[in-house]
């Protein structure tokens, strides 16, 4: 009677100082994803200590945070960004690490390319110096973000020192309504348990609504586990998982495929497994979600209003809400559908996969962005997603509607490259964080699903995507 998390933990346990479940354990790492922002200091320290990576073929590297999404033929213009990407290239070349360089068709956001390449496989431990590594848990993996010291630790030892988490099951039962997506489930969960609700836990998402999700949807959901405070989110392996992996470049082939899937099918919680906490949501009640504040838990539904801090009794919370409203330039009790937008961002490791782009394209097809929208960006998650979308004609749909069709990268999710909001600008974004300054200093972010972002682009303000679907 083990949970999926217990199984994954036990299968990777190399050493523990004592049998006490609270003691530090040495956990083996199967896959180490590396990007340019959190690795240079780790490579430098490794070199200074005279150490080498423990197992080169566990590592896959890509530059995604700093890369331009416009014309790349001239390289990166910003010298500081360029140095960081060059440093990754040099480290990978020197050490013999597999890297998809900026002009490689396979380049993209690290959490998009891992699964796309089959480099993320069920039963693995997957780490990366990036909090959204939780994404890979969609494949029945134990996947979580680490800091730079830990990046160095994994490079040097193929292991991490860690404590076992508590387990939380979030069960979402029933059928999702038309136009409701994994992003809405994720935001509804965060609205329910808060951004610290999952702190100290590994979350397993279960229930009929989760089983009905595509792998893209499951990745969106697990991606946002960290926004609920949980380092890891996961979904059990089923046919959907296995069908997605089959035939991908790094996936097992021929005679190994059979043994792999036989093992992968054991990667589920036992029926009688006990979780430390269980949360249940009714999928039929989930509406399109829109955040109104500066934390993902500051979220409401499309038919809702901006809440009134005066109605909150907790002093710290009331103060935080008021600060958020001031920053967001919003008044209490404003209907969400009356919030006008300046920019639209469809992209990020949360929502830049082919299914996301299809959902957005379906909404904008034959229409045009509203006059008040200064910029609407579509940034595919990888070169291969971009190519696929172009084969399906999605780029033409977006371009005809007034969107810009860009090269893959993290882009305006965190605005480390040139894609960013100007102070005071308001954006409907498919990304994962609405923190102050996240998309540019003074920028105001509302988190939504791709369909909701697309609908907002056409209307110029938030609209209920369910009503469009009925037209």
């Amino acid at each position: 009677m083990q949970t999926l998390y217990d199984k994954l933990w036990n299968q990777h346990l190399v050493h523990t100082e004592s049998d006490d479940p609270g003691s530090m354990a040495l956990i083996y790492i199967d896959r180490h994803l590396v990007h340019e922002v959190t690795s240079p200091q780790a490579f430098e320290s490794l070199k200074l200590a005279g150490r080498k990576p423990w197992r080169l073929n566990s590592i896959l590297a890509v530059a995604d945070h700093n890369v331009p999404t416009t014309d790349r033929s001239q390289g990166i213009q910003d010298p500081i960004s360029r140095l960081q990407v060059d440093t990754l290239d040099q480290n990978c070349d020197e050490l013999g690490i597999t890297e998809f360089k900026m002009n490689d068709l396979r380049q993209g956001i690290v959490h998009v390319i891992g699964p796309e390449q089959g480099a993320t496989l069920p039963g693995m431990t997957v780490v990366c110096g990036d909090s959204h590594t939780s994404t890979h848990g969609a494949f029945g993996c134990l996947a979580f973000g680490i800091g730079t010291s830990e990046v160095e630790h994994v490079l040097a030892t193929q292991c991490l020192l860690m404590k076992k988490s508590k387990t939380m099951r979030i069960s979402v039962e029933g059928n999702l309504g038309l136009g409701i997506t994994a992003k809405d489930i994720a935001l509804a969960i965060i609205g329910e348990i808060g951004t610290a609700g999952g702190t100290g836990y590994a979350i397993e998402f279960t229930g009929s609504a989760i089983r009905a999700l595509s792998m893209e949807g499951r990745m969106t959901l697990c991606n946002m586990a960290i926004e609920a405070g949980a380092r890891a989110g996961m979904v059990a392996v089923d046919d959907t998982t296995i069908d997605y992996i089959k035939g991908r470049p790094f996936a097992p082939k021929n005679e190994l495929w059979g043994s792999a899937i036989a093992f992968w099918r054991t990667l589920r919680s036992d029926a009688d497994a006990v979780f430390d906490r269980t949360v249940t949501l009714d999928a039929t009640q989930i509406k399109p979600q829109v955040t109104w504040g500066t934390s993902p838990e500051m979220v409401t539904t499309i038919d809702g209003i901006v809440p009134d801090p005066a109605r909150v009794s907790d002093e710290v919370k009331r103060h935080d809400m008021q600060q958020a409203l001031n920053y967001m330039g919003l008044s209490a009790n404003t209907p969400i559908q009356q919030i006008n937008l300046d920019k639209i961002f469809i992209g990020s490791c949360t929502n830049s996969r082919i299914e996301d782009l299809r959902a957005a394209a379906q909404i904008v097809k034959g229409k045009h962005i509203a006059a008040n929208i200064k910029l609407a960006l579509v940034v595919p998650g990888s070169g291969l997603v971009k190519k696929q979308a172009e084969q399906e004609g999605l780029d033409q749909i977006f371009r005809s509607a007034g969107f810009e069709w860009r090269e893959p990268g993290c882009s305006m999710c965190l605005a480390m490259n040139d894609d960013r909001l100007i102070a005071g600008e308001r954006c409907a974004s498919t990304s994962n964080r609405n923190f102050e300054g996240r998309q540019g200093p003074g920028g105001r972010t509302h988190l939504v699903s791709p369909a909701m972002a697309a609908a907002a682009a056409i209307a110029g303000h938030f609209v209920d995507v369910r009503k469009l679907s009925n037209e």
Binding site: V14, G22, S23, M24, L26, D30, V37, T38, Q41, S45, A49, R51, N57, H65, N66, D78, I80, S81, L83, Q84, T87, L121, G123, G129, S131, F144, G147, T148, S149, E150, E152, H153, T157, Q158, C159, L161, M162, T195, A196, T199, G200, I226, G229, A230, R231, L256, A260, F263, S295, V316, D320, Q323, L414, M416, R433, F435, E436, G437, R438, P441
Partner: protein
């Protein structure tokens, strides 16, 4: 890593919940390939009135006189009082680096985000969890008493106030030993290299597809 011993130091209050890593160190400063120099950009968007970019001379920038760490009474601070879920958001170790580089040795809060909490230990910055009610009390004390200093005794796991009140905190024994002795995690793990090799070999035999 520098050893952590008992310190007695000036305290500053950051009276706001859910302070995220983007607030602690904004993304433009993450482009650095170095581990040092982040202190001048700690809380950059709150601390300065102008917009900061890497390479700017911070002594020439307009500071926000209302921001708590800019108040004269908190100059030389080494202990930060914070609210719930401090350090939420990204995994950037630049957040603890910037706090440490600014001069902080200890952060006291009712709760921390997991990755941030973990990252702090790796560099010898001590995150201490105390009950929210104790934090409420300490916030009142530090705001009402200029020059308020706390003692943090890691060996005995106590935070001690000027009135000799003692607040005990929990810490994992392994992490405590690492901090007290300034031990390097990697060196410790490599003592188990043989065991890691054996584990890896077994795994390679059982799931060869993981090693291609």
């Amino acid at each position: 890593m520098e050893k952590f011993e008992t310190i007695t130091a000036l305290v500053a209050p950051m009276d706001r919940a859910n302070i995220d890593t983007d607030a602690i160190i904004p993304k433009q400063f993450l482009k650095s390939i170095k581990r040092t120099g982040f202190g001048q950009n700690l809380f950059d968007e709150w601390r300065y009135l102008d917009h900061g970019e890497p390479g700017m001379d911070s002594s020439q920038r307009k500071i926000n006189p209302a921001f708590v760490l800019n108040l004269p009474r908190y100059q030389g601070v080494q202990i930060l009082l914070a609210r719930a879920n401090f350090g939420c958001g990204s995994s950037r170790e630049h957040a603890p680096w910037s706090l440490q580089d600014y001069g902080f040795r200890v952060i006291i809060a009712p709760s921390f985000a997991d990755i941030f909490f973990n990252n702090c230990y790796k560099i010898g910055l001590l995150p201490i969890v105390l009950d929210a009610a104790i934090l409420d009390y300490l916030f009142e004390e530090v705001k009402s008493t200029e020059g308020y200093r706390l003692t943090v005794d890691l060996q005995n796991q106590k935070v001690i106030s000027p009135k000799r009140e003692e607040f005990t905190f929990e810490i994992d024994i392994f992490r405590k030993q690492c901090l007290l002795n300034g031990l390097d995690d990697i060196g410790l793990t490599l003592q188990h290299a043989e065991k890691i090799n054996q584990f890896e070999q077994k795994r390679r035999n059982e799931q060869p597809w993981l090693f291609m």
